[in-house]
């Protein structure tokens, strides 16, 4: 409801269809803490809701009333729960309910209850709802591409109802729109690892590594693809340190002498897992050193920590601590 509608709202006490109902007031009790300055329309709506909830009236007018109550307090799970009971009792069209949720979500999408309600409806509709749910979340994501609830719902839909076929393409699209969208990168990982239509992480790895490297080249300051790249080897450090593309990428980024913090951090990670650096890599790192600050006989890992302390001063204590631990790790 926008403010125009609110101005035209007829109080429930003046609506003939509600004349038989006695509203039930809220009993705040003595000494209520943090009382809220309820507006009259809010108070009245909740008073009538209490009446039908207590008398368990599962009727069309109750259904309409829950919509009014939800408008005032979208997080009220008691109202949502009663709405579900009414929908079942009246055997209402669940597709109509999906439409209602969509209209409501346009202005109220950031609450858990609406998404739980949507899931409840979709679950009842079963796999037929998959397409509609993917369309719905896509609409929400087109307004806010990082909408946490929408992504959670979308993941649930894929796992419970299906629709995986177009998901990798969808991630690609979103990343083309905004390569910095961490939610889209996360979804990509989700699809790679769980889609029954792809071969699983190992099978997809080569393709994904190339894709991610392209993204990193374009924006080496972007944290998301670096994490994603590392995540492709989450359970396979052998493959990680045997990769040729990754060290090559790191050297490339270092050589540009700009936005190289994540590259250094990844090399450090590789070294801690037993990676053998090339001369080219060692030279690329040396070039970045603050020449007077450190002796030249330090290990590569030590040198990297030293550089990071200086170029990432926000986290200098962390890099100093990492350097300290190198001896214990034998790096």
């Amino acid at each position: 409801m926008d403010s125009d509608e609110e101005e035209q709202r007829i109080p429930l006490s003046q609506r003939p269809e509600w004349s038989d109902v006695i509203p039930v007031q809220q009993d705040d009790g003595p000494n209520p803490v943090v009382p809220i300055a309820y507006k009259e329309d809010f108070r009245e709506t909740m008073d009538y809701f209490r009446a039908v909830y207590i008398s368990d009236e599962r009727s069309p007018r109750s259904l309409r009333l829950t919509a009014e109550a939800i408008h005032f307090n979208p997080g009220n799970y008691t109202v949502w729960h009663f709405r579900r009971l009414i929908l079942e009792a009246l055997n209402c069209s669940l597709h109509d309910e999906l439409d209602y949720i969509e209209r409501f979500a346009k202005s109220n999408s950031k609450n858990y209850q609406i998404w739980h309600h949507r899931r409840w409806v979709a679950e009842k509709l079963g796999t037929d709802a998959a397409t509609k749910e993917l369309e719905f979340t896509k609409k929400i994501l087109s307004i806010d591409a990082k909408h946490y609830h929408a992504w959670s719902h979308r993941q649930w839909v894929l796992q419970a109802l299906g629709g995986w076929e177009g998901e990798l393409d969808y991630c690609q699209q979103l990343l083309e729109d905004d390569i910095f969208n961490n939610s889209a990168w996360n979804q990509r990982h989700f699809v790679i690892t769980r889609s029954p239509f792809l071969g699983g992480l190992e099978a997809m790895r080569e393709f994904e590594v190339s894709y991610t490297i392209k993204a990193i080249r374009a924006n080496p300051e972007n944290e998301s693809p670096w994490r994603y790249l590392r995540g492709l080897y989450q359970h396979d450090t052998e493959a990680l340190i045997s990769s040729l593309q990754i060290p090559s990428l790191c050297v490339e980024v270092l050589s540009a002498k700009n936005n190289f913090i994540f590259a250094l951090s990844l090399i450090l990670d590789l070294l801690c897992h037993g990676f053998n650096p090339s001369e080219e890599m060692k030279n690329a790192v040396q070039v970045l050193k603050n020449s007077d600050s450190q002796p030249s006989d330090l290990s590569l890992a030590d040198t990297i920590c030293g550089i990071l302390e200086s170029v990432d001063p926000m986290r200098k204590n962390y890099w100093a601590w990492r350097k300290q631990r190198l001896a214990a790790q034998g790096t």
């Binding site: 809220q26 009382p35 300055a37 909740m46 990082k146 796992q159 998301s224 926000m314």
Partner: protein
Amino acid sequence: MDSERISSNSFDRDRHIWFLSMMYQLLPADYQSQEINRLTLAYFVISGLALLDSLDLVDKKGVASWVLSFQAHPRNRDELNNGQFFGFHGSRTSQLPPDDNGVFVHNGSHLASTYCALSILKIVGYDLSLIDSGSILRSMKHLQQPDGSFMPIHIGAERDLRFVYCAAAICHLLGDWSGMDKQKVNEYISNCQSYDGGFGLVPGSESHGGATYCAVASLQLMGSIEDDIISKDVQSSIINVPLLLDWILQRQVVDGGIQGRPNKPSDTCYAFWIGGVLKILGASKFIDEDALHRFLLSCQSQYGGFSKFPRQLPDLYHSYYGFTAFSLLKEPQLRPIFVELGIADIADIGI
């Protein structure tokens, strides 16, 4: 009023006390949309006043009796096994008046309200051993799911790490872990750790600062993770700590503030969610606390309280987490915080 003006160059305790005491008396109509979580709003106010060392402004007995009035009581022992959860309601809108026989038939009690209720009671000095904790804990078991997660309410709701945290906090506050299967919780938490080291609200979800706090604080409360694990240089068998550490430290961004997810703007509340995790891990010194301090001050409101972003109007939620964040930074005008419960260190208050 010039909303561009920052309140001051230091933590403005007096103004925050004034802000909270106003809220304690009456919340503006804007908060009616959060009516269902009234107890949570009370928690922010009362716990906030405790952190600000101003509990004298609170009618402790009155608050305790008000909070206790939200408890759902089983009518008999059989009811404890019928699948319902007997905790605390979050507001009168989920707690309907009793029927003609004086019986409360509608049980809308909720895990999050229960956590808030017990926290408030603890803060105002109420003896928790006087509560029927048996009913709370026995019935809480019904809310735990086969995968280890918790649903907050028996009539059905989403399930995720937030309610795992609430359940763990409730057990800790009541000093009794019979209400949950800890092993299953450890498994669920482990499954929520993402490929990048952070934690999502459910397995597969994007790593998120709030979810990460829920995960790590739960492990700490359950005793599933070593205290100060970074300083002790030990590993955890449940979560990948080095990967988490690297992810979490990257959450501090150029403006000194903390973001909840990569490539998102910094926001006051993450100074607590993320800062809290660092404290638990023993890694607080790994971020730039001065820069964070400066950012938080830029979110301090001239009206008292804190806003989400600089130069916006304050709200209770961001105000509370602004206070807790400053407490983590050892602001002298604030009480120390018991980080895994998110409230003032009661032992320190001397209750």
